[in-house]
Amino acid sequence: MAADAPVRLLPPLDPSAGHSFIEPTKRIHEHGDVSEFLCSKGYVDIMTFLLQLNRSMFPAKLSDGRVQAWPLNSDAVEYSAPVRQLQQLLSKLEAILDEAPPDKGPRRFGNIGFRRWYEIVESRVSTLLEECLSPEVLHRKSSDPEGPTAEAELKAYFLGSWGSPQRLDYGTGHELSFLAFLAAIWKLSGFPKSTPGVEERAIVLGVVQPYLDLVRTIIKTYTLEPAGSHGVWGLDDHSFVPYIFGSAQFAPALSETDRVPEEGSLPDAPDPNGVAKANIVERERRGNLYFSAIGFIYDVKRGPFWEHSPMLYDISGIRTGWAKINKGMIKMYNAEVLSKFPVVQHFPFGSLFSWDRDPNAVPPPSTSHTTSGPQSRLTDNAQVPGTKGPWATSQAVPPAGGTAAPWATARGGPALPDTSRLPPGPMAPTRAPWASSAQPGPPPSDVDPSGGMTKAPWAK
């Protein structure tokens, strides 16, 4: 295990070795498959890339002793050509909003104008990608001349990044897809080689934040429902990664060889309890991803912050600094996003994010996944199995299933039904948690405009 190395980087594909691209397909069909996912190479790559980006957002100790922080719109970060091209891609997607105005007819909640927007994006996807990715990246060939090019894989993650046109919702599964899109470009050497951190922070500040801005615009324009939220009892209705990267921005500074700190804050970082104060949120949202996400909550929600966002409010009481928050956010992302069947069930696997088992993976504690039906009250994911990556510290990942109310300490609750199945689309229609595997996934090309009513709900 490479636990001693401070930085582990997502390795690009070896250009000299043969490679076969694969049309990505879904592999997580039932709850038990999540354990497999957590042992897959795809999972390790996603997590590695996330942590690589995360590390880059920690302020830097410069050689002259000064500390360089990385606020949004920082002059100290230069955007490479690939980053600028991705920004243009996002601008084009934003411009398509004008071509697909919200529908004015009667609606219950989500606006079907979003389906039009998505259709347009889908119809132009090849051109859009061609304009923003170099041919060496986009059209990289399989060793087998009959095999698909990298485009097949890039497209899948790109199109999965914008919410579900069927369900008119957006959630962390879509955010994950965009992360995979960027990681795929990384693996295809689509970003220039540089000192560790340089290109990564350009990606976060120059692409991830504009992506989040665009997604927020889309959500507001079409009133997309939060996919899989618990109402007030989740972290955020739609997003997760801004809380990771934003907390890193306020953490103590690092040298190139330092390990990521687990406590403390940058000296002039705002107190975490600022999230409950509108004026501080207004000030900080311009420079920080965490506060930018909080600011969006302020934009769309009415009512006391502690009431509509109790988890974020509780986190604001943490006294051990932004690094502590950052570490908690990563653990939580692992447990509440990557380990949740309803979130990851739509994630497709190809060659870049492979379903193959990682050789270092720790087998899950139990394999009794006999059904995915409602009776399968799985308790066996109470311990997130999976690969111990270099980021894994001695502390075990917290329980993900069963009694895992995050604030619930080890009180030993009852044998509970599995809580890890967050059904999507909670704003209005509650979906049956046991039905999740039958939910039509995001964007197949032949989208059923009636909202996926053609599948029996209990169908596996």
Partner: protein
């Protein structure tokens, strides 16, 4: 002041009662609920409410707008818990009121009153956070299993007494001679914002006292309520016998395996909500603009069309199905020529939807000297007995629409429990 009254006062102030008291309350509630049938019969007048979802302050606003218990009779169609911050306070208050005034308040089960759903959508988390253990969650879930699955409102008047001042902007179909007020929409200040009238239906001697056991030939096709005054003469006061069918209240909707109200009565309801079958469908289904039945995108229950509703109402002598379960921006939504209505009582749902909430008041038909016409599906139209003489009229419907409660008075909690991930 009894313990119960003290608990009510405390919960009204949005303060929780001790765990031991919750346990006792839940025990008493179960004793009471076990006596109720799957379909509770409720006499008008009654105010029908939809989803609450832990929006306690908005529930207080609902009581302000609709009148307090026990002065107003209430029927809540489930989904008391999940998503909101105050599911505990909201549900425990309603439960206290149920135990204190059992004849004044009716609670039926929603799809969220379930162990599996509450562990996903927040109520379980809330119990852990507020009580430090799952005990209270367990007590509440045991009560959920005993909640009725539906209610039949009997004796509702077909005509509303006009209420409140009309706003200048009131939209209204003109009241003309020989019309009756059918629906009225009021804002939270009690001002009428919309009203609709319909032709008064005259009575004939036959349906002043509706015959219960006159059988008609099976081939005799009964007609749906005819146009106004069809075949009826009589004086202008002849509306006395305006016969309104019963109103069936369920959380979600209809089920393909339930064709009569009696079949609901046969369900063994004292269990966790199953994932399919009649009980599941009643709590999960949604009406939709389709013909017949459709599969629900929720993965439980079904979609059902206007033809299903018409047939069901006709066969069961119902004039209306009232249900909740779906956010509607205007607070209520009538569909299928008024055969079904969705009532939604959680304003600005999840703090962000921008919707208003509504409650539905059904008035008492005082015309028959307080005798309630028992038309609850036990007998009736399926036998064709009423023939062509009387249609079942829908009840007069008064919707009170309200917005989210003001928030300025809510204090901030001092303690911030820290989640495991951040320890």
């Amino acid at each position: 002041m009894s313990d119960l009254d003290r608990a009510i006062a405390q919960l009204r102030a949005c303060r929780l009662i001790p765990e031991a008291q919750v346990r006792e309350l839940c025990y008493k509630a179960r004793e009471l609920l076990i006596e109720e049938g799957n379909v509770v019969c409720v006499d008008a007048p009654v105010t029908i409410c939809g989803d609450i979802h832990g929006q306690f302050h908005d529930l207080m606003e609902l009581f302000r707008v609709g009148g307090d218990v026990p002065d107003t009779n209430y029927l809540f169609m489930g989904d008391f818990v999940d998503r909101g911050f105050y599911s505990l306070e909201s549900f425990l208050l309603l439960l206290c009121l149920k135990v204190r005034y059992p004849d004044r308040i009716t609670l039926i089960r929603g799809n969220h009153e379930s162990r599996q759903i509450t562990t996903v959508y927040g109520f379980y988390d809330e119990c852990i956070r507020k009580y430090g253990s799952a005990n209270v969650w367990r007590y509440c879930c045991e009560v959920f299993d005993y909640l009725a699955l539906g209610a039949l409102v009997l004796g509702a008047s077909s005509e509303l007494e006009p209420s409140g001042p009309m706003m200048d902007t009131t939209q209204s179909s003109m009241p003309i001679d020989d019309t009756e007020l059918e629906t009225e929409v009021l804002n939270s200040r009690g001002e009428v914002t919309m009203s609709t009238y319909r032709p008064r239906q005259r009575s004939s001697s036959r349906n002043i006292s509706p015959p219960r056991d006159i059988s008609a030939g099976p081939g005799q096709a009964p007609m749906r309520s005819g146009a106004a005054g069809t075949g009826a003469s009589g004086d202008a006061r002849g509306s006395l016998s305006n016969r309104t069918g019963a109103v069936l209240c369920v959380h979600g909707g209809l089920s393909p395996v339930i064709d009569t109200v009696d079949k609901i009565r046969l369900i063994d309801r004292k269990q966790e909500v199953p994932h399919e079958g009649a009980m599941c469908d009643l709590l999960w289904s949604d009406p939709d603009e389709i013909d017949g039945w459709g599969l629900s995108p929720r993965g439980a229950g079904f979609l059902f069309g206007g033809d299903i509703v018409k047939h069901f109402n006709y066969k069961n002598d119902l004039s209306l199905v009232a249900r909740a379960h779906q956010l509607v921006m205007e607070g209520y939504k009538e569909m299928f020529d008024g055969g079904i209505v969705t009532v939604w009582s959680a304003p600005n749902y999840c703090y962000r939807c921008g919707n208003v909430a509504a409650i539905l008041e059904l008035g008492e038909d005082t015309s028959s000297g307080g005798t309630v016409t028992r038309s609850n599906g036990d007998y009736g139209r399926s036998n064709g007995l009423l023939g062509a003489t009387a249609g079942v009229r829908s009840p007069g419907r008064r919707y009170r629409v309200f917005e989210a409660a003001a928030q300025d008075t809510r204090g901030m909690p001092a303690k911030k429990p820290v989640a495991d991930y951040f320890l």
